[in-house]
């Protein structure tokens, strides 16, 4: 439902000293200024990666680099470094592509991990499991070099809680998802809108662990969300 719209908008138009706009407004496709497109323009993937790594350290996020073949080992090592016994991960076909199926086996896990894979059919149990899990694992959909950000798109097997409720968060960052900054991510999302596609109900730009500076401006991590975060960058092409 939309309530009270006409009078509200009429008033705005009147105050602006003109009638209501009836034709679609042509938003300037080129604003006079466009500094956002110049940042890291023309940087190679390798350069973007080093910007990303540097920024991750600035925002208290551990960052590791690996080839696709050693990803399972590096991931297991990271989980163990967090003393992680229970794990929740999103249901993302890319996990299998990266050879993580045995690591994420939910029955008789060969590594002794208690693994839950987000399953919409199980409803609220997913959230309970996320709340109890030591570690949440998701794969970045778009990665922003400048700000050390992973972008997670929700939907189906990709629950919002995976990156939010567990004490530790691990993001797997395929190198191919790396772009200079939020500008490119926004453009990609907008292209989907222009094509008439639905966009996910939740798009999260995550830069490091949850933190706050509300007590005497002291930075404290893990106020509400994860206490620690790691990005594992994997070369995927």
């Amino acid at each position: 439902m939309i309530y009270n719209r006409e009078a509200f908008l009429e008033r705005i138009a009147r105050k602006l000293g003109r009638p209501r706009i009836s034709e679609p407004v042509k938003r300037p496709s080129h604003w006079k200024h466009g500094p956002q497109w110049r940042t890291l323009a023309g940087a190679t993937p390798e350069e973007l990666l080093s910007v990303f790594e540097r920024q991750c350290r600035m925002i208290h996020t551990d960052v590791r680099r690996t080839e696709s073949s050693s990803l399972p080992d590096v991931l297991l090592e990271t989980i163990r470094s967090y003393d992680g016994k229970s794990v929740i991960c999103s249901d993302d076909p890319r996990f299998a592509e990266f050879g993580l199926s045995s690591l994420f086996a939910t029955q008789d896990n060969p590594y002794g991990l208690d693994v839950h894979i987000w399953n919409p059919e199980k409803g609220k149990i997913n959230i309970e499991r996320a709340e109890q899990a030591d570690v949440g694992i998701a794969i970045s959909d778009i990665t922003l070099a400048e700000s050390g950000t992973v972008v997670l798109m929700s939907g189906g097997g990709k629950g919002r809680s995976v990156s939010l409720l567990p004490r530790y968060f691990i993001a797997i960052v395929p190198l191919s998802t790396l772009v200079p900054r939020m500008t490119q991510a926004a453009r990609m999302i907008r292209e989907r809108i222009e094509r008439g596609e639905a966009i996910p109900s939740s798009v999260n730009f995550i830069s490091g662990p949850s933190n706050s500076a509300d007590i005497e401006m002291n930075l404290v991590v893990g106020v509400h969300g994860p206490v620690k975060a790691t990005c594992i960058v994997v070369t995927d092409r």
């Binding site: 509200f8 105050k15 956002q36 939020m182 706050s212």
Partner: protein, 476 residues
């Protein structure tokens, strides 16, 4: 709490602020740190002036076409299965939200920090119908636990409190037994709030920006409480000031970048959460019911006036962090949830000129605020306009000031009276003098001398000095 809080007499609030030595040093330190981080972030970005002009251009364009973009936004949200309520007044907004809560028979509500819900006194309305409303932003939570102490900064509402005060409040109100270490107190709050998130029936947030084209609401936080509030409860109500809108994701991105850098000096805060409608089919977490409440509450009266540019504001607080007046009196002295230079411009417009007539005078007009603003709002010009309006159009400057100026006019017009007056001034003010400075001046001087020193009138008036020099044969 509404836009207004505290003592209604401005000078008394200022006096309280000036006397609070701890608050002053805490505010000064916070101000310094935020200002430095902002400058560093702007420098890292490069082309800062160009960025500001882009920010300004986007905000202006959106305001000029506000009815169009709001229509587009509401159509979008509706198409996604959400509800949109346009509220002309605070009462309309709160009664709609109350109805939504009552229809769900909800009692437990979690909120993430939002200025506009403070502006419309939403918590009071919900508490009056028996709801428990928990502020989940750490700074807001501290204020709420401390008997609803008013905020003193737009971005860091509790910057005026030190760790020991916070520890004491937690101990008294929540039975906290730990130390005053920020880490330990934060961990305690985490434990306290987790069950609230998991059991809340309604989550309420503000809206940093809404995207017209996609119907998206964007929340900018560091703590992630905005994510919890919008992921776990079955109902999400987002409340937005009608001007907080951008055309598309491409402008959203620019504004978010400007906000994060200007507010806290970060490239992006830890969480930028973009929500489009209620949860989609197949989603487990996320709200099944989504309401967007779009609030006017006096904003449309600013459109088309000389103050229109104030609606460009993105609530980053950068102007507070450079303001010498804010530094001395603290945010609570403004008596409005909107403090600092932006508060001095905005509060009289939204909260009523009668209530906030003095605020535009709480400025040195040094223009540091204008220079710091990421969207080029000419704040100090707007402060002068306010003063002009008060002085000229309304002819309602405070009575004492008018009488004093009138008397000064009479005296200054007559050379003899003027000579007599300036001689007399020194004798008349002697009781208040201390080391050549008037400390707690009488009558109309009091507000001035309580804030800063007023040198005593010279023993020798200028005319006497001139005469004496002439007599001594010195060349003028």
């Amino acid at each position: 709490m509404g836009i207004q809080f505290g003592d209604v007499v401005f000078y008394r609030r200022v006096d309280k602020g000036i006397r609070d030595q701890f608050m002053r040093s805490a505010v000064r330190a916070a101000q310094e740190r935020m200002r430095t981080s902002r400058l560093r972030a702007a420098e890292e970005l490069g082309d800062w002036e160009e960025w500001r002009r882009l920010g300004e251009e986007i905000r202006r364009h959106t305001l000029e076409h506000l009815d169009y973009y709001l229509e587009q936004l509401s159509d979008r949200v509706h198409a996604l299965g959400g509800h949109v309520f346009f509220a002309q007044t605070a009462e309309e907004a709160t009664s709609y939200i109350r109805d939504v809560v009552q229809k769900r028979d909800a009692r437990r509500i979690v909120k993430s920090k939002s200025m506009v819900t403070e502006e419309i006194s939403l918590n009071d309305v919900l508490e009056a119908i028996g709801c428990r409303v928990v502020e989940t932003d750490l700074g807001e939570y501290i204020l709420q636990v401390d008997d609803h102490d008013p905020p003193s900064h737009i971005v860091g509402p509790s910057v005026h409190k030190d760790r020991e005060r916070i520890r004491r409040v937690f101990a008294e109100k929540l039975g906290y037994t730990g130390s005053a270490e920020p880490e330990e107190m934060t961990a305690f709050v985490r434990q306290q709030l987790r069950p609230d998130f998991l059991t809340a029936e309604v989550g309420i947030t503000g809206c940093n920006f809404a995207v017209a084209e996609s119907g998206t609401v964007c929340l900018v936080t560091n703590e992630g409480n905005g994510r919890l509030v919008t992921s776990l409860p079955p109902v999400h109500i987002a409340v937005m000031g009608m001007e907080r809108i951008v055309p598309t994701w491409e402008e959203l991105e620019v504004m978010v970048g400007l906000l994060c850098r200007s507010a806290v000096g970060q490239k992006l805060t830890s969480y930028i959460n973009c929500l489009t409608g209620p949860k989609a089919a197949g989603d487990v977490d996320g709200p099944e019911e989504f309401h967007l409440v779009i609030i006017d509450n006096g904003r449309s009266d600013i459109l088309g006036t000389e103050f229109q540019s104030v609606l460009q504001c993105i609530r980053c607080g950068a102007c507070l962090n450079v303001c010498p007046v804010y530094r001395h009196i603290g945010g609570q002295a403004y008596g409005s949830i909107y403090s600092g230079p932006i508060g001095a411009v905005l509060s009289p417009l939204l909260g009523g000129e009668d209530l906030y007539r003095e605020l535009p005078y709480a400025s040195s007009l040094c223009a540091a605020c204008t220079e710091a603003c990421p969207v080029n709002i000419p704040l100090h010009d707007l402060l002068i306009r306010h003063r002009q309006k008060t002085a000229e159009e309304k002819r309602q400057s405070p009575l004492g000031e008018r009488l004093a100026m009138k008397a000064f006019g009479m005296v200054a017009e007559s050379p003899r009276l003027y000579r007599w007056g300036t001689k007399l001034a020194r004798t008349a003010l002697l009781p208040w003098e201390e080391d050549g400075v008037i400390r707690q001046g009488p009558g109309p001087l009091q507000p001035w001398t309580s804030i800063r020193d007023l040198p005593s009138p010279e023993r020798e008036t200028f005319r006497e000095w001139f005469e004496n020099r002439r007599k001594r044969g010195e060349r003028p």
